[in-house]
């Protein structure tokens, strides 16, 4: 970044992203505005939760970052009230969402303090109260700076297991538990077991394909649209917003080669870095280009086991 004092080529388009606010109503620049907003949102969260100093963090800095987050959330909320689907455009990078589909041990071993708050706050419009959790950092009596706010929605555990997961759970039942938490309406384990079936079997069509056909899985687009169209998940209001029609333009956006990238020369670097730096939260190294393919492989495994048993 700038601190290294490296020379860079002058780019006229640079100013388009940084600094000046781009009105959300502008057509072509709306994407860059949303992109910038999302970038800043993620950076702000990382600043609040990634920092573990030996001394007390600066209250002024915390307050300013907090205000930034609140402002962005307000905007998202307002946009969310107009267009609930697009509000999810500000959804978090694939890593944290896909965390619930990863092998549970990997998730269980994720460091406890930062991820719960991070995951629960990332991007989702509904749990705004959870996003206010950072304010509790300001309380000088608070000796659990990363505890989630009591208003944290039930969906929060969906990102990660419950705060104190029993370590001896085996990976598949944990995965099932997570999926169960996604769907508070389903109570029977059978329904929960059926859930991964249908969710993984979804191919963008309402009908459920044969679950024991791995080839279908491979041919599916590598993103969360697998889950969106299944009947299983449509009951859920929260996850409607989370999973429905996610605007993945940010993640399909290849910073190195995209022709449209010139409009935001600065952002691709940071967005790219963001994806890499957020990988630790999912406790599995993720190359930004292939987070979704890994999900499919794991879904495969889970599928086979479920079908096998």
């Amino acid at each position: 970044m700038l601190g290294k004092g490296e020379k860079r080529k002058f780019d006229e388009h640079e100013d388009g992203l940084e600094g000046k606010i781009v009105s959300p109503s502008d057509g072509p620049s709306k994407v860059s505005y949303t992109l910038q907003r999302q970038t800043i949102f993620n950076i702000s969260l990382m600043k609040l939760y990634n920092h573990r100093p030996l001394t007390e963090p600066s209250l002024q800095k915390t307050v300013l970052i907090n205000n930034m987050l609140r402002r962005i959330q307000e905007e998202l909320k307002q946009e969310g009230s107009l267009r609930p689907v697009l509000a999810a455009a500000a959804s978090p990078p694939p890593d944290s969402l896909s965390a619930s589909y990863r092998e549970a041990p990997a998730v269980l071993s994720a460091p406890a303090p930062p991820p719960p708050a991070l995951a629960s706050d990332l991007g989702s419009t509904t749990p705004l109260e959870a996003c206010l959790t950072p304010a509790s950092l300001l309380e000088d009596d608070n000796d659990a700076p990363f505890c989630t706010s009591p208003a944290a929605p039930p969906a929060a555990p969906a990102r990660l297991p419950a705060p104190a997961p029993p370590p001896e759970k085996d990976s598949f039942s944990s995965a099932l538990d997570e999926i169960e938490e996604l769907c508070p309406t389903s109570t029977s384990p059978g329904a929960a077991a059926a859930a991964p079936d249908t969710s993984r079997g979804g191919s963008g069509a309402p009908s459920v394909p044969r679950p024991d056909d791995p080839k279908l899985m491979d041919s599916l687009p590598g993103n969360f649209e697998i889950t969106t169209s299944t009947g299983f998940l449509t009951d859920l209001t929260l996850d409607d917003i989370l999973f429905a029609d996610i605007d993945t333009s940010m993640y399909d956006f290849d910073p190195c080669t995209s022709a449209a990238g010139t409009a935001s020369k600065m952002a691709p670097v940071s967005a790219d870095d963001l994806l890499k730096t957020l990988a630790p939260y999912s406790s599995q190294p993720v190359a930004p280009s292939q987070p979704f393919k890994m999900d499919l492989t794991e879904l495969d495994h889970i599928m086979e086991v479920l079908v096998g048993s």
Binding site: G5, K7, E18, I40, I43, L59, A135, D143, S270
Partner: protein
């Protein structure tokens, strides 16, 4: 402004070239006569420089500053309740006006303020009757004659001793201390509260401003700096992270939560961005010597306010406007939170503040001219005349200009000080102190 600035000498606070955390300069302050210059560093040390007096006779220089005293002001502490370290870094030093032979200054870290007495000893008594020269007591039976001890000159020894320790009054980090014009009281400000102390009393302080909300989750604004008016002992100002300055009168009520005046400039809608609030946060506020104006420093600019006009500043100077298009990166690498200080010259005609790449800027209020200079080791031998610098924001870079992208954001000048009477300035880079003076001939 009378021409270029002549570098007289280069003082180094640390001799070794590597960047030692303990030796990062964190505050710089001249005393009231300008004869002494105090620096505080991140390791809790205070180093005081004294201007040579002999060279005043010679016309071409005003005397160099040499180390006068060094002492450890604050030590690191540990807050056992929160399991956090309390940094020993000196946040601010303020001198008291000299009343007798000794000098007094206040130094503060995040939590504790100390009053230090710096005194000289250049004579010592010799010829005691009961003691030997090395201090051992003589056998009284050997004393056969009496003599009067006399004072003989000795090598100058400068001693610093802590006279008062003002502790346990701040929950949050102290950012400012300011001595009242009555020279009996002073204020200390942290993020949410301002306390009033009497210099003689350490076990009691009065809270005069408290902006802590009942519910901390509603906190959106903190205090960033505070200062007493130079002449009115009942008036002080404090600035906030939202770009406002409040002037308070202590005669109005015991708790000055309601301001007498609120200084705030409305936001320029054409410059709005995600970072508008952060860059409006005021990092320093300083009254002019006359007391009629005050100066504030926010991330990109310096503003001069007339105390009689609250709705906008009377002058605004852009320090590094070319950074406006880089705010996202500066937010990412935390540079946007850097707290730059600012200072007036003795006659209130020129103001100075620091920037990145070891640049510092001076603005002449009368001629409206400004200059950018660099404090760097490469081309700074004594008597070198500093060359003005220019940053090229965009477009074709001219010769000798520096492009924005090649600025070093790790080299920042946060602390500067101006001699109260003469055109001598002290500029602190990360771990070096530079002293420049105006070219006389």
């Amino acid at each position: 402004m009378r021409g270029f600035w002549n570098k007289v000498f280069n003082l180094e606070v640390v001799c070794c070239p590597c960047l030692l955390k303990a030796d990062i300069i964190s505050t710089v302050e001249f005393n009231h006569s300008g004869e002494l210059l105090a620096t505080g560093d991140k390791g809790g040390r205070v180093v005081i420089f004294q201007q040579e007096q002999e060279n005043k006779i010679q016309s071409h220089s005003r005397g160099e500053y040499n180390v006068y005293s060094t002492f450890q002001s604050h030590e690191p502490e540990f807050d056992y309740l929160k399991s956090l370290e309390i940094e020993e870094k000196i946040n601010k030093i303020r001198w008291l006006p000299q009343k007798n032979a000794a000098q007094f200054l206040l130094s503060t870290n995040d939590k504790t303020i100390k009053l230090w007495k710096i005194s000289e000893r250049d004579k010592r008594p010799e010829g005691y009757n009961l003691k030997e020269e090395d201090g051992r007591y003589r056998d009284p039976t050997t004393v056969t004659t009496l003599r009067v001890p006399v004072f003989r000159p000795m090598d100058l020894m400068v001693e610093a001793s802590p006279r008062r320790i003002f502790a346990n009054a701040h929950t949050y980090h102290i950012n400012s201390i300011s001595i009242n014009s009555d020279y009996e009281t002073y204020l200390s400000a942290d993020d949410l509260r301002i306390n009033l102390w009497h210099l003689e009393i350490t076990d009691r302080s009065f809270n005069i401003v408290d902006i802590k909300p009942a519910n901390m989750e509603e906190l959106t604004e903190v205090i960033t700096a505070a200062e007493f008016h130079p002449n009115s002992c009942n008036t002080f100002v404090y600035s906030s992270s939202k770009g406002t300055i409040r002037l308070c009168d202590m005669r109005a009520s015991a708790l000055c939560d309601r301001h007498s005046k609120l200084f705030e400039e409305p936001e320029d809608p054409s410059n709005r961005s995600f970072f508008s609030e952060i860059i409006s946060s005021i990092s320093d506020v300083k009254f002019s010597h006359s007391g009629r104006y005050m100066m504030t420093r926010d991330y990109l600019s310096v503003k001069i306010w007339d105390l009689n006009m609250e709705n906008r500043p009377v002058e605004t100077y852009q320090v590094h406007e070319y950074l406006r298009s880089k705010l996202c990166s500066l937010y990412e690498n935390d540079c946007i939170f850097d707290k730059f200080e600012c200072c007036w010259n003795g006659s209130d005609s020129v103001v100075m503040t620091g920037s990145y790449n070891n640049f510092f800027r001076m603005f002449d209020r009368n001629t409206k001219r400004d200059i950018t200079l660099e404090a760097s080791r490469e081309n700074n031998k004594p008597r070198t005349v500093l060359k003005p610098r220019k940053v090229c924001a965009s477009g074709k870079r001219k010769k000798d200009e520096i492009s924005v992208d090649s600025l070093d954001f790790n080299k920042k000048i946060l602390h500067t000080a101006w001699h109260p009477k003469e055109n001598i300035i002290a500029v602190a880079t990360t771990n070096n102190l530079y002293i420049f003076q105006d070219k006389v001939n």
